[in-house]
Symmetry: C2
Subunit: 549 residues, 2 copies
């Protein structure tokens, strides 16, 4: 072991693409077993042997000190810079990743390796004198195999990249049988890829969507944190009656298959004497559901901490199999205290511009990929969102505009009826030429009970932010903070006032004008990537009949 | 309206603590209605009237431009600086918040206002000549009321703060009846406060916990993002058989109360002919559960994108009413590709040190509050975590150490038995003097099937990170990446191999050594705040019999 370690040290890359260890000695220790044993049976460093190799760093009497954590050097850091990697020429590098393609030519072999950090592969050029060339000859270097490659960065002969890696050593870490590996070069359908949701992030499209989704999430946190909002986790399970029945999932322990997975006999469900479910024996002592929105809970914290936001999963047991609906999706719901609808619209606009700008600046390569392969022109469309002023107009004006357009719509246009997708798209795409539009002050009959009544007594201070292609991306409102108005509205709608006791308390004790909005995160991912089906905007989509993985 | 606006303009604060608008004109517009109408019936700016007041900014033909969003100036930005607000002396300020106390003395009245941005109140000093003094006389300025105060920053006479606000104008926005407002000056019990979870963030303790919780969450994202990890949302609902039965919540639409809330008759549940539940008619076509961990899903993405982390809710239907258990809690689960247990321990250590350091640096005032009122010495304890090297020792060494201690434990100490809380606390608190300790290489019989077997064939590459007071904070392992080992282990444990087809696929196609860990976020909040009961570490705790709000 020690001899092998020394041999590796002499050859060792000065920069190890994936090593997290500090000292050269421990770098070697981390390399040896992974490298040495992997050739045959996918073995790698057992932690025990790795530890044995480093007795020098043992701490005092008892135990040892934990190693320092180091950021892993990734392909995007080498190739993603302004020089596209040219500043790395002459340096030694170790790449760990998955083989995208391996082309064996008469004199050289080209291996494209991807580590998931960016769309770009590292092109590795290998000649027969390099260590591990027998792996090429044996056919082990196939699409999907995981490998480790050591080499020297050289300028590339090809037009597609500035640099490539001249291989000195190749090790196959994990093989991938080309006859059974489901992701082959020929393009697979999205439907098929959904059936292998565990492997689809290894494709260009899904790795790019994952990175953009990540960037949107982080930008969301950055925006709100930089503006003084506090993240609040609204509850997922709720027995609150406020949520209202219908389209909710029940959460229960009253039904349980046994540990062998045998089906549950309904006769075992505890009932009251009239044959109804005895909820008092359920886990929470009453019916409990998966939340459909964290807004009401969010309001309680806004009425204490001023500005808050939630970012968590929400659920709809809606039996709709469309490209726009998920049974489980993530929502972002900010709530602003001492704020009215104007503040709310300003916040929604600033938020959307911020996250879109963040993605354009931080996911350039992925966005170019979407621009070429998924939706031509998406970069321009998003640039417009960042640069253009958003327009707001009232629902009443929007209806006027639609009526005056004399355009034939499938659904009727009439004051009091909700706007349909075709109307919304006409407004953003035709009237405002692709610019996002906010429609505000909707008739109270078509909006939720908690929205603040306007002085005209017919409309409420609601707003919907519409974007081209996706339609409604954000929906928000100023909340009714006047106790008497809110109670009257609950009565009008035959809602049980007692259920809302805590929500009404916010209006009893130090009530403040406040407003907020909700944004379906997967819709935002669709909007920013051009991905057509919402099932491709979340890692593991849940839809009617489908909750695998 | 115009006259009133002008009057306010003359008097207007140059800095409006809470105004988001850009131009002085619109600032006034936002003030007028909120201020003007609120005195009597909690009215505030309807968006319609606010818009009417600003016709000058209407855009071109159709609609208007949305206003610019501005960060709200908050009390912590005034008082939280190095000068504790002295740099603001002489400036005009508008504060919006909730009254903590109001003390009427013969010549002056002291009002303490809090806006939730920090623990500190703003002390407002008001004399009878200030506008709105009638509100004091009428008794409207009570604990819990929301108010707006305009005034000038002056050096404070008191010892508790450097500055105070000399009030020129007071407006009560929302009253709070002192006879019914549940949060009075005398200290309420934690149990009572849990019953008013919608109001408890208005107390010092819970607003501080909320801010620290927020800081820990943001620091979590920052740490992983800065180190190249990608956030992945693992699914909440899962029909995957991998999770195993028991202690899981079922998610179903087979039982549903009707829209009037009338109880469901069990005879309506669809059954097969032998009286068992017919899962094929459920929403997902088979039994579905709330996830207990996102790890297996996380591994699929790590085996494509290299380093990922999840941060989302997880669930246990465990009937334990303790101060350490929740039915719904948030988990952070990073997964590192091309990594072994040493990398995993290094990552866990670096992560914990990072987030603790972040809180110590960014939540100074809140941490001093905890240090004084919740857990004396917590700041020193956390400083130790940041500064000390973490020690690791093997499970075998830990057992040796416990046996040799000759200490009488309640639970037996023997190789092969799991460590109990008393053992863990003895190790961290007694043996290592309050330093976090990682125990590694546990017997495989007491650990999960997916953990990587060590060369000794008796232990697995698992690790638990123990901290004083809380005990196990992080649990992780290197995952078994060798297909044959993993399949053998599934068979040994009588687990159904077919259920794990996709998990096994990761070992079939380009398998890589990988490792990860899980951290219960509420345990981290407990650890960082000293809060004793985990129900006080999350806004709306879910426990057996309790899912209100």
């Amino acid at each position: 072991m020690a001899g092998a370690a020394a041999a590796v040290t002499r050859r060792a890359a000065t920069l190890l693409l994936s090593s997290r260890f500090r000292t050269p000695a421990s770098r070697v220790a981390s390399l040896i077993p992974i490298v040495g044993a992997c050739n045959r049976r996918f073995l790698c460093a057992s932690s025990v042997s790795a530890r044995t190799a480093e007795p020098a760093e043992a701490a005092s009497q008892l135990g040892e000190t934990v190693k320092d954590f180091r950021k892993r050097l990734r392909i995007d850091e080498v190739k993603g810079g302004p020089d596209q990697g040219l500043d790395w020429v002459g340096k030694d590098l170790t790449v760990r990743g998955w083989v995208r393609t391996c082309r064996v030519q008469s004199s050289v072999t080209f291996i494209e390796v991807n580590d998931g950090s960016c769309l770009s592969n590292t092109q590795c050029v290998m000649t027969s004198d390099a260590e591990g060339y027998d792996q090429i000859e044996s056919g082990a270097v196939t699409t999907g195999a995981s490998i480790l490659i050591e080499g020297t960065v050289v300028p590339s002969q090809g037009a597609k990249q500035k640099i490539e890696l001249k291989v000195t050593r190749l090790v196959v870490i994990g093989r991938s049988d080309p006859t059974t590996y489901p992701i082959q070069k020929k393009r697979a359908t999205r439907e098929f890829l959904r059936s292998i949701a565990h492997l689809r992030p290894r494709t260009n499209t899904f790795s790019a969507v994952t990175r953009v989704r990540n960037a949107l999430a982080y930008a969301t946190h950055k925006f709100f944190q930089e503006n003084g909002f506090v993240w609040v986790s609204s509850p997922i399970i709720t027995a609150s009656d406020c949520e209202g029945a219908g389209e909710q999932f029940y959460v229960t322990t009253l039904i349980q298959n046994d540990t062998e997975g045998n089906n549950f006999n309904v006769s075992k469900i505890p009932t009251t004497k009239d044959g109804k479910i005895d909820w008092s024996q359920d886990f929470f002592g009453k019916p409990a559901f998966l939340t459909v929105s964290g807004q009401l809970n969010g309001e309680t914290y806004a009425c204490a901490l001023s500005d808050i936001y939630t970012f968590g999963p929400t659920f709809r047991a809606e039996n709709s199999n469309t490209s726009r609906h998920l049974a489980e999706f993530w929502m972002i719901e900010p709530e602003l205290a001492f704020a009215d609808l104007n503040d709310d619209m300003a916040c929604a606009t600033a938020y959307l511009q911020y996250v879109v700008k963040y993605v354009l600046e931080n996911c350039k390569e992925d966005m170019e990929f979407f621009n070429t392969w998924i939706e031509k022109g998406i970069i321009n469309r998003l640039n417009d969102v960042v640069e253009k002023s958003f327009v707001q107009l009232s629902y009443t004006d929007a209806i006027d505009l639609l009526v005056k357009s004399k355009k034939k719509f499938e659904f009727p246009v009439k004051w009091g009826l909700d706007l349909q997708s075709e109307h919304e798209r006409y407004i953003t795409e035709q009237v405002f030429g692709g610019s996002p539009v906010i429609i505000r002050d909707y008739p109270k009959e078509i909006k939720a009970f908690y929205m603040r009544q306007n002085d005209d007594e017919k409309t409420v201070a609601a707003m919907d932010l519409l974007v081209p292609r996706v339609g409604e991306l954000i929906g928000g409102s100023q909340r009714e903070e006047r106790l008497d108005y809110l109670e009257a509205r609950l009565e009008e709608l035959n809602l049980n006032k007692e259920s809302y006791w805590w929500y009404l308390d916010l209006r009893r004790f130090g009530s403040v004008p406040h407003a907020g909005f909700g944004l379906g995160f997967e819709r935002l991912v669709q909007f920013a990537t051009g991905i057509e089906n919402i099932r491709d905007a979340i890692p593991f989509p849940r839809t009617p009949g489908s909750a695998d993985f």
